[in-house]
């Protein structure tokens, strides 16, 4: 298994600086002024959602995780692939530069995983057109949520793999750049180099391990348990809804269909392996007709099939645990495979 440690440590010119002011809001204003499409967390009632924002005021950063994942910036719920009438009229591509402000380490890692899926081998041009223009401004985690387990995948919630990383440590704003794009972006701001004491503070912050859940993955056991009755037991209360997959930052399944007979649009929309129609074939055969087969598929997809690409397709954000209406818990399920 390939380790998921980033290439961050290989870059020696990483810039580490201090900002006086409200960096995240200033970053949004700056990006908007330069014509970026900015995705940031918006507070709705008691929770946060990643959404496109039109001003810095709309964003709010008081969260552990926004409820939806940041993947919407590169893989939107719906997108038009083709506009057609008697022939193809237009193939729309994303022209605008895109930024995600407020992404956390788990979602940032998830985008790297989506890259493997959409850009390695067959290249998805729609995804690529967004991804190429993407700038990520991440926030480090101060504390984990109840169902966070990102550290199980070698993710450091205090050191997200993003272009720019923002941390609030001891009342000070630390801003680091980990890529050329990030470095260019930071050149827009008035920053000063961090002092020796500050560097120590930041390093200690980054090195601290957070107390969180841990998932035990035994691939050999998974390999042998495909036919186990375990999956039926786990699935007994599953409702076959799409919460787990739609909130998941690494799930990438979609469906394509046409809207309009003589004139219309070809649309790509999210789909979920938990829906019975997902695998229904036109012969009316359904290889995963039972809900336990669909549930099993989700776990095998993330922890076994995906290994072909070298990584588990889970980043430990815990959204599927928090919001599963039946209380199905990926950490317990995978750790308890038999």
């Amino acid at each position: 298994m390939r380790t998921s440690h980033s290439s961050q440590s290989l870059i020696c010119w990483v810039i580490k600086m201090i900002y006086e002011g409200d960096f995240l809001k200033d970053a949004i204003s700056n990006l908007l002024a330069r014509g970026y499409k900015v995705f940031a967390p918006v507070k709705l009632g008691d929770f946060h959602l990643f959404r496109e924002v039109k001003s810095a005021e709309e964003a709010d950063f008081g969260y552990i995780l926004p409820r939806n994942s940041a993947k919407i910036a590169v893989f939107p719920e719906n997108e038009v692939l083709i506009k057609y009438s008697s022939w193809i009229d237009e193939i729309p591509f994303e022209e605008t530069r895109i930024a995600i402000v407020g992404i956390k380490a788990c979602d940032a890692k998830a985008i790297k995983l989506l890259d493997e899926h959409f850009l390695e081998g067959f290249v998805d041009p729609y995804y690529k057109s967004r991804r190429e223009k993407l700038l990520t401004v991440a926030i480090t985690c101060e504390e984990p949520g109840i169902n966070c387990f990102c550290q199980s995948f070698g993710i450091n919630p205090r050191k997200p793999e993003a272009d720019v990383v923002f941390s609030r440590i001891g009342g000070k704003t630390f801003v680091n750049a980990y890529s050329d794009a990030g470095k260019d972006f930071l050149s827009e701001f008035n920053l000063r180099n961090e002092g020796e004491e500050e560097a120590r503070l930041r390093q200690n912050f980054e090195r601290e391990t957070l107390e969180m859940r841990k998932i035990e993955i035994d691939v050999e056991k998974l390999k042998k348990s495909f036919e186990s009755s375990y999956w039926k037991e786990v699935a007994v209360n599953c409702k076959s809804c799409g919460v787990c997959t739609y909130l998941c930052p690494t799930c990438f399944c979609f469906d394509i269909y046409d809207e309009g007979e003589k004139k219309g649009v070809r649309i790509r929309a999210w789909d979920s392996c938990q829906f019975p129609l997902h695998t229904l074939e036109s012969s009316s055969h359904n290889p995963r007709a039972e809900k336990w087969q669909r549930l099993r598929n989700r776990f095998y997809d993330k922890f076994y099939y995906a290994l072909r690409k070298g990584d588990y397709y889970c980043v430990g954000c815990g959204r599927c645990i928090d919001f599963c209406p039946a209380g199905i818990d990926i950490v317990s399920v995978i750790s308890g495979v038999r």
């Binding site: 959602l49 109840i146 409702k239 739609y246 919001f323 209380g327």
Partner: protein
């Protein structure tokens, strides 16, 4: 004997091979539903965080089943019996006279869930057993809004009742705010809500009354070719696309809710399941009111609402 001990005792006495009851979820203070056998009876627990409705789970089980049911759960079970989906003689219902459940999301805003070990009700207070010591908060602060206007806190159907029977509320005052809005304001309100929907269909999937094998809102994408007959096409109508936008979402929710006319048990699973926190119960409540006031139908009648409409003709 406390409530949990009484529940275990009754489940044991039922002699049922299978038991549908609440067990503690790993790593969190809430309970989840499980299908158990008699030997697991010590795992059974119950608290104001035993929020889910077991009715849907019952439909996939055969033979004698003992089930723990709160007031709203019993409403759903009775409805499913009325609709021929469950058999009364197969069920042993341990009814719980319910004081309401805790809104987990509200609780998580007040206390760090990872610190809470156990939750119980004592008078008007919720007692939280914390990692370090105990804390008390007023129940009113964390009660699920849906429970405030519950009409049937005492199960309408049971084999044994735990707790004293209690009265429910029979008014629709919770709808006043929406009803006072102008048509335009109301439209705007709902569109602003539906806009958030991601169409995960959790509201439908958790609903004990949404048991249709084929749902009208599912876009069946079977290939339609020039060879397809009119009949083929007609049998796979695509009423709604998969596109997520406020208006398509509104159609989805309105269609879904209309199928619950005179049926909704009021358990609130739809609202709890919604990761986007849409106020779905308000739609169901309005429908409930219309069914009652316009059609004069009472949920306690033996005949299902739609059958009654058929009988009445136009």
């Amino acid at each position: 004997m406390n409530e949990v001990e009484k529940i275990r005792e009754e489940l044991k006495k039922s002699g049922a091979e299978r038991i549908v009851a609440f067990v503690k979820k790993e790593n969190e203070p809430r309970e989840v539903l499980a299908v158990l056998s008699q030997k697991d009876i010590d795992k059974v627990t119950f608290s104001p965080l035993s929020v889910n409705n077991p009715a849907k789970l019952l439909m996939q089980l055969n033979g004698k089943v003992a089930v723990v049911a709160k007031g709203c759960d019993a409403m759903a079970i009775r409805q499913l019996i009325k609709e021929g989906k469950l058999k009364r003689e197969n069920l042993f219902i341990v009814g719980i006279s319910c004081r309401g459940v805790i809104d987990y999301r509200k609780l998580s805003k007040i206390e760090k869930l990872s610190e809470i070990r156990e939750v119980r009700l004592e008078g008007e207070e919720v007692v939280l057993k914390m990692r370090n010591g105990e804390k008390r908060i007023p129940f009113a602060e964390v009660i699920e809004e849906n429970c405030l206007y519950c009409e049937h806190p005492t199960p309408v159907i049971y084999d044994v009742l735990i707790g004293e029977a209690r009265e429910g509320r029979k008014d629709f005052s919770d709808l006043e705010k929406l009803e006072k809005m102008s048509r335009e304001e109301r439209w705007e309100y709902w569109i602003s809500q539906f806009e958030r929907c991601i169409r995960c269909h959790a509201c439908r999937s958790v609903c004990p009354l949404c048991y249709c094998e084929e749902c009208i809102v599912d876009p069946s994408n079977l290939a339609i070719s020039p060879m397809s007959t009119a009949e083929d096409k007609a049998s796979y109508p695509r009423l709604l696309g998969k596109t997520v936008n406020a208006k398509d979402n509104a159609i989805y929710h309105i269609i879904r809710v209309l199928h619950h006319a005179g049926r909704c048990s009021g358990c609130g699973e739809c609202e709890r399941a919604c990761p986007m926190e849409l106020p779905l119960r308000k739609l169901e409540r309005k429908l409930e009111k219309v069914v009652k006031e316009v059609f004069g139908y009472d949920l306690n009648e033996d005949i299902p609402f739609f059958s009654k409409l058929d009988m009445l003709g136009d």
